[in-house]
Symmetry: D2
Subunit: 353 residues, 4 copies
């Protein structure tokens, strides 16, 4: 059984629930999120039912868990959600472009890539300081030094930062720099990490597992949500199949399927899906046309020198076409393309969920 | 070694080549196609090289086979091809809508579905008379009676017919009714069938194998081309993966990848990919946006009574949205949406390849 | 509805059934098999039920078709079957070794490979005269000339022949030479071919589709059975997955699963599964240990010159280890290793099904 | 560049290396393992080469990293390794049975399962206290309370414990109870966890990722090895494919392939591969026959009440058949079945690597 508190519930309201549950022989698991608190109950459901928890002050909803995911399910939350990252919305009304280098390498390279991103119309900057690499001998990222570079570049460009965290232990550190935490495809079932980002008070981008079903992906999102954080954006990035012409097989169908099952925004990563520069634009168009709420794209000033995933990064000459694609397809899907002007004029509001 | 004759080569020209090859101890395999003849040579390549075959009358090109596909490769034919089916073009300048029932069941149902197709803007009618069914106890199609129904409906609606053939033995029969022969996903490596449709003098739609790589697909097309038939349209229809939320996983990346490797048109079947009505429109949009040269879509007047694949057929209420999608996305991709008016005004020309 | 006639049913018995069904407004589809006739009924099941067909002379069983496969199902036939190929049994009491070259290339090569097979203890000779090749430019087999070589080698060695047929049209020709017809992995859903081999009067080895589920495989077997031929041996040969270290991924679990669902024998092809010589012996051991009723193995006197699949063929030095593996594992599984002596002493009996 | 120190290298020897590397402008990364220390160097390889590091005291080997895995590669270590877990060997000379409950639920259930394991001949006890579960609403394990139960049961039965760790943060805690740390299939690319277990001073069982290639698996092992821990046992547990008849598809070929590429022992988990009780024995036989160095099997006194994976657990009646399979197949593969007697008579030696 899960209790969702209202955003205005007080610590006393929460304590009251915990007390009631304890007195009924149960255990209450309190997760304080960005905008609200969620309390998981373990114990005798029948006894809990007798407590009339739904009637307590500060309680928004009491859910019995019967489907594998509940908090992220659209069944319980028919309106699709908008997640805000440093004031930039990702949701059903808009199309958001996130761009930047795969990995932060140097201040110069990161700034140049951020300027490229901005030129293409991006309103969020991606960039990895902690890189999960298949080989232990591959470049593993600059760590905290990379986070500092990202923060400097944010200062210089005004772009909020999306960056990956690979270790539950690093979550507070990364969250102290990042505007949005990314959980990568190799960690989609790293439940300790999911729980840690669920408690970090920052929006999360959750990539789909390389061989994860849509159901498993939503259950991973549920792990985050259960810790009180509903500011989750799902990101489809290609699945592993027998086909070797592309790095992964982009599963565009996953977007409408996930949007039907869950209220969370769903974006697409066309760079890691195809793994080839020449596929980024066609796959971006397909992403927008299928209804994705945004795309996240690798750009690099000098991809031939990139320490990670150079072959898929867009270069400067590609940017006008990318910008035009974003501008053309957004109105077609009855959406507004998120722009820096738009974000600055709007008052970066509280989380919308 | 493969010799492509010019469209105007005479039987005597062909005989002359065969004679030369035989005299050099080789064997010549003559394939007379719709618009031209292709001669495959088996024997000592060095001796053939000495024959100066490229200089013989009626010879358009002599190719050494080094890549796995040659005739369908874009390397040897940089211009992308347009295939014409009863006057309806499928190619790089246009977007073509093919629609109709999965299976021909009755004259009434087929006519009603054809009228639906037409209302949505389709210029070609799909419909199966021979159905390859996984279970021997499933409806296997009406056979020749189904072909006669299709011919009647063509008469009534003016829509040329695309229909499947599953047995090499039936190719002449099906070709005597059809405007385009379809080879289904279970037969993509049925080489006897590929060779038979290669000789049938009708355009061919070749679906990708359920677990076929793009390379294997193009090699299957090469089997058809080798028999003299280059009027081939490739059709991506979803591949088999671990994901079970959709019937198959639509691989949109296959469109730009195949178009880069081959000059043949590539279309998408969003109905069989997703296997769900609610996914047909989103996947159609993705198909057009990624650059497909057309789409093929199931429609049915009463899908709840359909003998085959009812759950994925569009119904009458879906047609306006389909029509509008086609009209909106075609100009966006700098293409003309093929319409009946367009086809009637144009003189149905000879094959363009 | 399907009627299985007894082996001793007369043409008059069959005619009587056809007449009854016709009089009831139905259609009867008669399939005369090697040992018995099967009649499929299309029409009103309720009216058929009223005919008391089970009580007619010559009728062994009347089955309502509810599960996707019926004739090959173990539910209706709890005893596992033994199929005999030229007197050589394949079934639950024995282990059978089939070996030979992937493709018949020359009389010398075929005889040498057959002698190798015999030396390793094989009692059936495999060898392809018609080869389904992904590329149209690859060696396609010698055709009928290859069948004649196989027949000569059978004469010289006493080994019955297993050979592939790839085109429904060729089935009578191939069946006139072969002791067992093989349907390859690319043709597992070539239903015309399945029906043709179902009528050919020869045992059939049905390979699993490269990406076919076990259920689909059994439904393909049902297509053969429906034409009156229950002498079917299933052959697992590896499925297509993301792993590229092996040519395919041998699915050993498919053996016990298929044996539980179907009464048909199940063997394994360790050569095409792994695609590597060094894996043939380990996978043969795994095959026998998991309960396969036999194995089919590529051997070649000069694999470096093989026109097809040389890298996986065993060479002469490998044969003692193969022979010993067969001899050691058979008793361990409470089975008799089929030997030429055993087959000659036994009177090659009628089909056992 | 990686430096492997001898087991007898002193702290001073290590300091000396670190000093040399630092003086050359590089960074030295010291990993102290159970039996030896490994130093990874980051910086200018050419300058390092000039230091003659191979000649320094305490240095066993200096490796340039060119292949994706080095420390676990057989190329650099042709002898296959034996890993010892609380005195129980897992390696090329032996076959080791590990058994126990999927999850620790109660002291009674754990003891009963351990007695079952012992009755079947197991010399190591498996059992999960921290369970990675796809759904956040599934039983997540008892945590440290479960570890205490395992420790008690070890006391009572003498069986060393293999147990999973899912969070890098928990490694010291789990390592303080466990004899062997298990990294599960969802964490095979959780690099923070791999590094943590690499430093924990306990042998590690590394499961193959659900959709991980053999190469990726060995690179994950390399992450552990790089931290100084070469006491790694690889465990194949089935991969994700399109087939749904089994929970996963056991890839038996992975055993000989991995044993050829790496010197590490490789075992098989037939319980999680098939996910069905009726497949455990056939898959165990296949595992031993293909050359696995051991198997790990779920047993449960009351699987119908199990909180995790009941359908695949063996029950008491299955144990004699399991014991007999182990006894029959071990000598057949020229191996000794590890027994408790064997382990007690031998002096539990230092790690063998």
């Amino acid at each position: 059984m899960v209790i969702v508190m209202t955003p205005t519930a007080t610590p006393e309201d929460i304590e009251a629930i915990v007390g009631l549950v304890g007195a009924a022989g149960g255990e209450a698991f309190v997760s304080r999120g960005v905008s609200r608190t969620i309390i998981g109950l373990i114990g005798d459901v029948e006894r809990f039912a007798a407590l009339n928890l739904g009637g307590q002050r500060g309680v928004a909803e009491v859910m019995r868990v019967s489907t594998p995911y509940k908090l992220v399910s659209r069944e319980n939350h028919p309106e699709r959600s908008t997640v805000r990252v440093g004031g930039v919305p990702i949701g059903p009304e808009t199309v958001t472009l996130i761009a930047g280098p795969c990995a932060v390498e140097t201040p110069q390279q990161t700034l140049a890539a951020a300027e490229m991103a901005k030129a293409a119309g991006a309103t969020l900057l991606r960039g990895g300081a902690f890189k999960p690499r298949t080989s232990p001998y591959a470049f593993q990222g600059l760590g905290e030094a990379g986070l500092r570079i990202l923060a400097d570049v944010r200062e210089q460009t005004g772009l909020p930062i999306v960056t990956e965290v690979v270790d539950a232990h690093d979550v507070p550190l990364v969250a102290s720099y990042a505007d949005m935490l990314q959980v990568g495809t190799r960690n989609t079932q790293n439940f300790a990490l999911l729980q840690a980002v669920g408690k970090a008070g920052k929006p999360v981008m959750l990539k789909r597992g390389m061989s994860g079903t849509i159901d498993e992906w939503l259950m991973s999102a549920e792990y985050i949500a259960q810790r009180g954080n509903l500011d989750i954006v799902l990101c489809e990035r290609g699945i592993r199949t027998f086909e070797t012409a592309t790095r992964n097989t982009l599963d565009v169908s996953a977007v409408p399927v996930a949007q039907r099952l869950s209220h969370l925004p769903v974006i697409i990563d066309p760079s890691h899906s195809g793994g080839r520069r020449d596929l980024v634009l066609p796959l971006t168009r397909a992403a927008l046309a299928v209804g994705a709420d945004g795309v996240i794209i690798d750009v690099h000033p000098h991809p031939e020198q990139a320490l990670c995933d150079g072959p898929q990064a867009l270069v400067t000459e590609d940017l006008p076409a990318l910008a035009q694609t974003m501008q053309t397809f957004s109105p077609l899907m009855n959406r507004t393309l998120v722009s820096q002007t738009l974000c600055q004029s709007a008052r970066p509001p509280q989380s919308l969920v």
